[in-house]
């Protein structure tokens, strides 16, 4: 079947089998390998993308669900020109050492961006509840939580032009 959607701001049309998972479509057909497949059982969250602005696990999403939708992947995040174009949340992960091996990071960042969308000031408890569906086997989460709190503040400061 043919599906059309907006992928990171660009109109995209692809031919897919209905049994295609969005994570597979992104990585194997569209060459967007920033979305990772960790557990492939919707537990680990390495594959989180935004479907119509909401965080979803792309390993547990059938490609037909994209038809007519807007999809944002880690490749579609970007910051202001001149800052290496890192998104404020990506910058916060870098500043706070919020990653070690980096495998879970794309999913962490996408979940964090969704969590911070309406909340400039997140508490540690809110961040930990918000990251329940994202598993990291390296960091022990401390620096990830710090990254998300500071990234949320930075996102809203950037939005206000500070």
């Amino acid at each position: 079947m043919q599906i059309s959607f907006t992928l990171n701001g660009r109109p995209t049309t692809v031919e897919v089998e209905p049994a295609t998972l969005v994570a597979e479509l992104l990585r194997e057909q569209l060459n967007l390998t920033g979305t990772h497949i960790g557990c492939d059982t919707s537990q680990c969250g390495a594959c989180v993308v935004h479907l119509n602005g909401l965080p979803v696990k792309s390993c547990t999403l059938l490609a037909p669900a994209l038809d007519g939708a807007t999809l944002l992947t880690i490749e579609g995040l970007q910051g202001a020109p001149g800052s290496n174009r890192l998104h404020p949340m990506q910058e916060a992960f870098r500043e706070n050492h919020g990653l070690q091996c980096g495998f879970c990071t794309p999913g962490m960042v996408m979940t964090a961006v969704a969590l911070a969308k309406d909340k400039p000031s997140l508490t540690e408890a809110e961040v930990r509840h918000g990251l329940e569906g994202n598993i990291c086997r390296c960091t022990g989460y401390q620096n990830i939580v710090l990254s998300v709190i500071s990234g949320a503040a930075a996102m809203h400061a950037a939005a206000k032009g500070e």
């Binding site: 079947m1 089998e17 209905p18 049994a19 998972l21 492939d40 059982t41 919707s42 537990q43 969250g45 989180v48 479907l51 909401l54 965080p55 979803v56 696990k57 547990t60 999403l61 059938l62 037909p64 669900a65 979940t111 969704a114 969590l115 918000g130 329940e132 569906g133 994202n134």
Partner: protein, 264 residues
């Protein structure tokens, strides 16, 4: 996953017709249970019938009861000002399901139709004495949940909404299985003018009520009223996560916490 045909009907009668006419077809709502099931090849349907294009199945409406469309995702129920004001325990229950990504996609209709023995919504639906509205009729919660993944739904019948009466007070408490975040045991308690309802998920092969706790709480709506009530371990689940006697113990503990939550 094995290949399947994919249908996206835009009218409920068309969806019902596809479901009865295509042998081995399945409905898909949010897919949070079905897609993992397909990936593990525990199910290999010939066709999926996607409910997302059907009109009128999404949203929450006010009235003498709160009606939630079957395709309403958990995140929307959790964030709903209306649900938070009228049945805060139901909004809290929705906010505890899975994780944010699961709550973006998973739907109340899907959860109730699937009737997973450890799902959260069946406890809220039975605990509140809700009504399941389908394409064919209305079914009381007490007549709907029939056991392990089994419901009163007939072939070709599609849930369109769940209607919740408004309790005086209600609370939900759950002991999460740490990896899956399903309920090892979850208890929903609701107080109405004519009595109290207590519904338990996770402990057995399906959601069930606890009449001795309901009677005790109807007399005295306080955690102390049920502290001494023990659940029989007969028929409770024993598995890698917990033995039946531990689950029985958790029922009393979670019921007390649910009453505490209801008392705010």
């Amino acid at each position: 996953m094995k290949p399947f045909a994919y249908h996206q009907p835009d009218q409920i009668p068309d969806a019902a017709k596809l479901l009865t006419s295509i042998e081995d077809s399945k409905l898909v709502a949010g897919g949070m249970t079905l897609i993992p099931t397909l990936k593990q090849r525990l199910a290999n349907p010939a066709a999926l019938i996607d409910l997302s294009k059907l009109p009128g199945l999404k949203g929450i409406s006010d009235g003498a009861a709160i009606t939630i469309g079957a395709m309403t995702p958990h995140a929307e129920v959790a964030a709903s000002k209306l649900v938070q004001a009228k049945i805060p325990a139901l909004a809290a229950l929705a906010s505890m399901i899975g994780d944010p990504a699961v709550r973006s996609r998973g739907t109340i209709g899907g959860s109730v139709a699937n009737n997973d023995p450890a799902a959260d919504y069946p406890a809220g639906v039975l605990g509140l004495g809700a009504t399941i509205v389908t394409s064919a009729r209305e079914i009381l919660a007490d007549k709907f949940f029939l056991g392990l993944f089994e419901t009163a739904l007939q072939s070709g019948e599609i849930i369109t909404a769940i209607r919740f009466p408004l309790p005086l007070k209600a609370g939900y408490a759950k002991f999460k299985a740490p990896a899956s975040r399903y309920a090892l045991v979850g208890v929903f308690v609701a107080k109405f003018a004519d009595g109290v309802r207590v519904a338990v998920t996770g402990a057995g092969p399906g959601v069930f009520r606890v009449p001795p706790m309901e009677q005790a709480l109807s007399q005295n709506f306080d955690p102390s009223a049920i502290a001494a009530i023990k659940i029989d371990t007969d028929g409770l689940t024993s598995d890698i996560h917990a033995e039946a006697d531990y689950r029985a113990h958790l029922v009393t503990v979670m019921a007390k916490r649910a009453v505490d939550a209801a008392l705010g």
